[in-house]
Point group: C3
Amino acid sequence: MGLKFRPTDTTFYDLFSEAAQHLVGGAELLAEMLSETADHQDVARRMREAEHQADETTHAIVRRVNTTFVTPFDREDIYNLASGIDDVMDMMDEVVDLILLYEVKILPAELSTQVEVIQRCAEITAAAMPNLRSMQSLEEYWIEINRLENVGDKNHRRMLAHLFSGEYKAMEVLKLKDIVESLEGAIDAFEKVANIVEQIAVKES
Amino acid sequence: MGLKFRPTDTTFYDLFSEAAQHLVGGAELLAEMLSETADHQDVARRMREAEHQADETTHAIVRRVNTTFVTPFDREDIYNLASGIDDVMDMMDEVVDLILLYEVKILPAELSTQVEVIQRCAEITAAAMPNLRSMQSLEEYWIEINRLENVGDKNHRRMLAHLFSGEYKAMEVLKLKDIVESLEGAIDAFEKVANIVEQIAVKES
Amino acid sequence: MGLKFRPTDTTFYDLFSEAAQHLVGGAELLAEMLSETADHQDVARRMREAEHQADETTHAIVRRVNTTFVTPFDREDIYNLASGIDDVMDMMDEVVDLILLYEVKILPAELSTQVEVIQRCAEITAAAMPNLRSMQSLEEYWIEINRLENVGDKNHRRMLAHLFSGEYKAMEVLKLKDIVESLEGAIDAFEKVANIVEQIAVKES
């Protein structure tokens, strides 16, 4: 391996922190969408804006990878991490979009529990990004994400069982199942981000 | 980068043009399947044949990659492009297959609008392939595909909203949702092909 | 290519045989889950255990790849093969899990035909793994897997047509469709494993 030259250019770390910060904002909008008094049209519009801003950050990272000679870690890892974070945002946007599109008026209370898991994932992901520079405390982050993913999986199975318990009509099940699955998709996407961070940390150690 | 030796062997360009031409044929069969008087069994049989022929072209490309010493661009890019085009055909085949399998008699008129987008995607993809040789005019192609993908996405959301509007029974929604999602899958597959072409063009420029 | 040093360390071959053996056990549990007198809770518990054991084998392979200097074939291929086998187990686990979760009491008889295909896939995959060492008789294995995948595909389409024939209520269709699709997912996952083995054999030949 030899000595590793760690560039002083901190832009990549800043951009990843910015990208993960968009996820915190997205998770908040998701929680807002689920509140009983939410103006679905308005929240969806703001989510779309947030998603565009997140796209901007992703593009800034990709542009920088393509124009920078020395990158703090493998180009491919940078690209994977950026698109992994982007995927989370897309999944959260999809949940909001489905609630609007399907005109779901009454959402089962369990959805909120799942969105709380998502908010927690967003917070610790955002808190972990600045640590990419020192490569410190990342292990706690991915262990916690894995724990949250397990909690999310249990919630997910409980929601599905409830959906199919006979309480809901087929049409409602059809709508809610898509929403429930997108929520799980968002949590899985957070786990993928943590896995990418883990791989980067293993390589750099 | 240094000088790049561009082989005079034009077989790859011809094969990609042939592959994309299969997509034009596939999109026509898709449109035929949606017409009110279509013989579903017969169109599905012809689609299956078209899909086999497209497979042949894909295999011809892969065989050639494996046996040619100098390829016009990276082997992996050639492989990605070939399998990307193949994926489009598979998605169009899936739509036809689902209509046959689910015995859907009455298809919402909006499906035709979406198939028109697919036909347009197929045409411009086929028109772009010969330009891989000169690497000219490719930007217009992928900008147009991205525009069509946006149009397709709007159609898709409108169709889903209609499906869940209460007009359809749950059983019909179940069937049509699969078909509507496969149509969107075909458009997404076209966008992936355009992204691969873009990556190739960026590398070669 | 030059001479290839084939290490005498047989651990990798043993681990892959062990991994594929878990699939045979998983397929048996799947068959048991479908029997009329099955105790769903109990079979699902045993499936979860089997899945954990399979995970252990996968991790043992990954650990060994990371700590061994000379591997019998490319590290990436070893990793792909291990995770390919793992994916099969996950799909079989998912089927069992869905039957439990959706509380499906009466399963269409055709599901058993599909599970027989899966059992056969598991058996020949397990039988093929020890042949990775000599690279003999692998072609018969992947040809047979491809044949089984075709049989499975026909079964799958027949089951879907039956599901949508009008005999089942939308709610039942919703449940059974997920199960039917997971069964197909398991067969597809077996095919992916066979493709990875084929790629390895081609490289080594």
